[in-house]
């Protein structure tokens, strides 16, 4: 009774105290709540504004082309493909290396290592490492992976000490002035003498920024007996694609754009970079192969086939197949002003050796702007020519059915080339022979290095592998810490239960601890991977090339990554580059969101599997 009475009086006391301290308490509580709300909303508003700005700015730039194009000096044509794939490669390497090492280390620390001074020292240091600025890891990565401390025998980045999966080619002149390449025993082998050999025609001086990563149209280059590529004759242009039957079926097509180069060898241009040029084929040089002057360009007819068009200065004549052709010339790099200037109708001459019959036609020019690029369409009306016309001099040329697009190293740069596929050898050409390349300089006198997909070198240089390992350094501490925490969260009673049944420590880890902690490990690791995707500083320190126009071809290949590409665009003057940067940010955000969504999904899957 008395106890209840005293409790009552205590309650009384509490009630009376309510007047003051309780009111203050309530006020403090409310004030704290309000300020928290305010701070949160400021953060949210700032974030919203930022995201909206980015979205508004970048929205226009977003298109399928933006994802499938490579970076370019011309903002209209620039895309993010190289960076996107670079990020995928680098982060793939990073994840594949960091996860096993990180989780393994965590398992060792948490499950196997005793709790002595050394392990606690290691533990503390791993936590400290997580706070080290990522730029420091860039420096470490550069020293260790890219240069391997410059140890003797290891070699340098440009002159690797050991390479696997690379073949060297040496160029030589053929008897008729062509340039060919042949494989060398080793990089250091003596240069080959000038010998007659398999003729090759090289594509040259292409601005790689606008080259699309597609198969070059097969370049038909051989005039069998004389061993040279293009038989340029006044009467006919014997350049086509396909077997004779094929060509007859779908209308003969021609590819490329021949012009003179300094070295005097005719070069065939890729369609995408073809434009009208002033260069002419001078009779003197062409004596070896041809004797015609003219301008050349490639066209596409309505069926999408490429035609080879000669534009003589004096005559405007179309010679075509026995049906009407509408020819279209894609002029990727033409500017609007240039477009105005050159928009006078022009008549061009199309020469096709279709079934040996030449046709003539009239030509109108028509300009249109399509997508990001002005495209020039040349409308060609072709009329059937008398069947009696003489067949093309060169006859039908062989088709090269399987050409692989490859990137070759020339010591300082990478050039693109079409290479004969191994499984589809061509008469007179060994598998792997280089048919055409688009080096930025005359290729004779240079050695080409062809790298297989499994190409590997020591030291790693500034390629994908070194980049991935460097990022791995950045996220490794985070992965380890996350995994240690995850393992620690597994109740000890489970370990005891397993051990008490005679399980070894490894069996316990493998069958009990790890499965129970995998969801948490995954969450931590994927958060770490998100960090890796957005990380630019260490890669910047590694010093990778900023301007990359292709996806990585092997683990040692050059690369760029999304944040670097965005940074690259953002620092350039001009509205359009800012737009590109914003579009790039959107892509990066989408990638991050996808990643996190995947993380949540995987976690939920595993969790429900464990619990059900």
């Amino acid at each position: 009774m008395s106890a209840i009475g005293s409790r009552d009086s205590l309650l009384q006391l509490t009630r009376s105290g309510r007047s003051r301290s309780a009111r203050l308490r309530e006020f403090v509580n409310r004030a704290f709540f309000t300020s928290c709300l305010l701070i949160t909303s400021i953060a949210i508003i700032a974030l919203t504004v930022l995201l909206t700005t980015v979205a508004v700015q970048g929205w226009d730039g977003l298109s399928l082309e933006f994802l499938t194009n490579f970076s370019s000096r011309n903002p209209e044509a620039a895309g993010i493909k190289a960076a996107l794939w670079g990020s995928v490669w680098v982060c793939g390497v990073c994840g594949l290396v960091a996860l096993p090492i990180g989780v393994g280390t965590a398992i060792y620390l948490e499950e196997f290592a005793g709790k002595n001074r050394l392990t606690s020292f290691v533990r503390t240091n791993i936590s400290n490492l997580a706070g080290v600025p990522s730029i420091v890891y860039g420096i470490i990565g550069l020293t260790i992976f890219a240069r391997m401390f410059g140890l003797p025998g290891i070699g340098t980045e440009t002159e690797p000490g050991l390479t696997v999966g690379s073949t060297w080619y040496d160029s030589y002149y053929t008897a008729d002035g062509g340039v060919a390449f042949r494989p060398l025993e080793s990089r250091g082998a003596p240069a080959g003498a000038i010998v007659d050999g398999t003729p090759l025609l090289l594509v040259d001086e292409v601005d790689t920024s606008v080259v699309q990563p597609r198969q070059l149209p097969a370049l038909v280059v051989a005039d069998g007996d004389r061993g040279f590529s293009v038989a340029l004759e006044e009467a006919a242009i014997p350049i086509t694609i396909g077997t004779a039957e094929e060509a007859r079926d779908r209308g003969a097509t021609l590819a490329g754009f021949v012009r003179m180069t300094e070295s005097g060898n005719p070069r065939v241009w890729d369609r995408t970079t073809a434009y009208l040029t002033d260069a002419t084929l001078s009779g003197a040089v062409l004596d070896q192969a041809t004797s015609v002057e003219g301008r050349w360009l490639s066209c596409e007819d309505l069926a999408g086939e490429t035609l080879f068009v000669r534009v003589p200065d004096d005559r405007y004549r179309i010679e075509s197949g026995d049906r009407a052709h509408r020819l279209r010339t894609v002029l990727p790099r033409i500017t609007r002003t240039q477009l105005e200037a050159t928009s006078t109708p022009e008549r061009i001459e199309v020469m096709l050796g279709e079934g040996g019959r030449l046709v003539q036609g009239e030509l109108w020019n028509e300009y249109r702007v399509q997508g990001r690029r002005p495209t020039r369409y040349a409308l060609v009306e072709a009329k059937a020519a008398p069947a009696a016309d003489p067949p093309p001099v060169g006859g039908w040329l062989p088709v090269y059915p399987r050409l692989r697009n490859e990137f070759l190293e020339t010591g300082s740069r990478t050039v693109r080339a079409s290479v004969v596929a191994d499984d589809a050898p061509i008469d007179g050409l060994p598998p792997g022979a280089i048919l055409a390349s688009d080096a930025g300089a005359p290729l004779p006198d240079q050695r080409l290095e062809r790298r297989s997909w499994y190409y590997f070198q020591f030291p790693f240089g500034k390629g994908v592998f070194a980049g991935g390992l460097t990022l791995m350094l950045v996220i490794l501490p985070v992965v380890i810490i996350a995994s240690v925490e995850a393992l620690r969260a597994v109740p000890n009673s489970l370990r005891q239960a397993s051990l008490a049944m005679g399980a070894t420590r490894w069996q316990t880890v493998q069958k009990v601890t790890l499965p129970a902690s995998i969801p948490m490990i995954m969450t931590g690791s994927i958060l770490a991977m998100s960090r890796a995707i957005g990380e630019a500083a260490p890669i910047l320190v590694l010093g990778v090339a900023l301007f990359i126009t292709r996806t990585p071809q092997n683990l040692m290949d050059q690369f760029t990554i999304l944040p670097m590409q965005i940074y690259n665009w953002a620092q350039r003057p001009g509205e359009s580059f800012q737009e590109l940067a914003a579009a790039g940010i959107i892509v990066l955000l989408v990638v991050l969101l996808t990643f996190n969504a995947a993380a949540i999904l995987i976690r939920q899957r595993l969790q429900s599997r464990l619990e059900s």
Binding site: K115, P491, S493, L494, A500, M501, Q507, E611, S612
Partner: protein
């Protein structure tokens, strides 16, 4: 009263140390085979009455056994014998070293850094404190059930199969048979037979504890150690477990730690009373509970201290 005075010491004296005689060894070898599926009718418990004076074989013998956690001595000079196919209850106030003793029997103390022991502990003729002892095999032979049920976050089937699969490969059908047998032995088969694929975490506490017992049985141990298996359970579940222990006695040697005097009296054949790391008294349960030799024991079991 006077006859039982020396029991705690006398337990060891009138029996040969198992393992020292080849005969004792060979008999024990028989039990090394994975537990028979059914309670064996052939090996009939010779003493339905624990008071009967028939001698039992001894499975575990300790002599001058002491153990330490770092500098702290948890056990002092224990001399104790644990008879085969009987239930031995360890009682004593909290912190007196019952769990410590239990954990030495299957060397679970190895996981505690700083824990070490001195003296002899012999299981079926093998000194299990030595570093030569194969701990993995020892733990297979000596199963353990913990105070709190700790099933793995896996299915009921996987929980039972886990231990068996640690030691050898099984056909699916063998495994199914083993799982059923173990669950039947643990008297939980009827409750779970339709939900073997479900998570073990979905069972009630009492069911989980019986599952843990089944899990321990599935490895085919000779000895089952139980550290307060009923302390987290309600009376009904406790009763089920007690019933289970009584049944298991026919095939297994059971050492059980309990704070429940009634429980100890109900299920055990022999009782050992620990106090501050020392074995105060050990003897047949009925004798300990009716005519304890030591005053401390009397005080403890009558609830006057502890």
């Amino acid at each position: 009263m006077s006859t039982t005075k020396g029991t705690s010491a006398g337990v060891t004296s009138d029996r040969p140390v198992p393992g020292s005689t080849p005969a004792g060894r060979s008999v024990l070898k028989v039990t090394l085979d994975p537990g028979p599926a059914e309670p064996e009718p052939t090996v009939e418990d010779p003493s339905p009455d624990p008071m009967a004076d028939q001698p039992h074989e001894t499975v575990i013998t300790t002599k001058g056994f002491s153990s330490w956690y770092g500098k702290f001595q948890a056990l002092h000079e224990l001399d104790l014998e644990i008879p085969k196919k009987q239930v031995t209850a360890l009682i004593g106030p909290s912190g007196c070293g019952k769990s410590t003793f239990l954990r030495w029997i299957n060397r679970m103390n190895d996981t505690i850094s700083g824990a070490y022991s001195r003296g002899e502990m012999v299981l079926a003729g093998e000194d299990i404190t030595s570093s030569q002892c194969d701990v993995v095999d020892l733990r297979r032979r000596v199963g353990m059930v913990f105070q709190r049920p700790n099933p793995f976050p896996k299915s009921i089937f996987e929980n039972i199969a886990y231990g068996a699969r640690l030691h050898r490969r099984y056909d699916r059908s063998d495994l199914e048979e083993l799982v059923e047998h173990s669950l039947r032995q643990a008297a939980i088969w009827d409750e779970v037979k339709d939900r073997l694929k479900d998570s073990a975490l979905g069972l009630s506490g009492g069911q989980q504890q019986r599952l843990c017992i089944a899990r321990a049985i599935a490895v085919g141990p000779e000895v089952l150690l139980m550290d307060e298996p009923c302390s987290a359970l309600d009376p009904k579940s406790s009763a089920a477990i007690e019933e289970l222990i009584r049944g298991l006695k026919q095939n297994y040697t059971i050492v059980i730690v309990t704070h429940n005097m009634q429980q100890a009296a109900r299920i055990s054949d022999r009782t050992s009373f620990f106090y501050e790391g020392r074995l105060i008294e050990s003897g047949d349960t009925e004798q300990i509970f009716t005519t304890p030799a030591k005053k401390q024991t009397d005080d403890y079991i009558s609830g006057r201290f502890g």
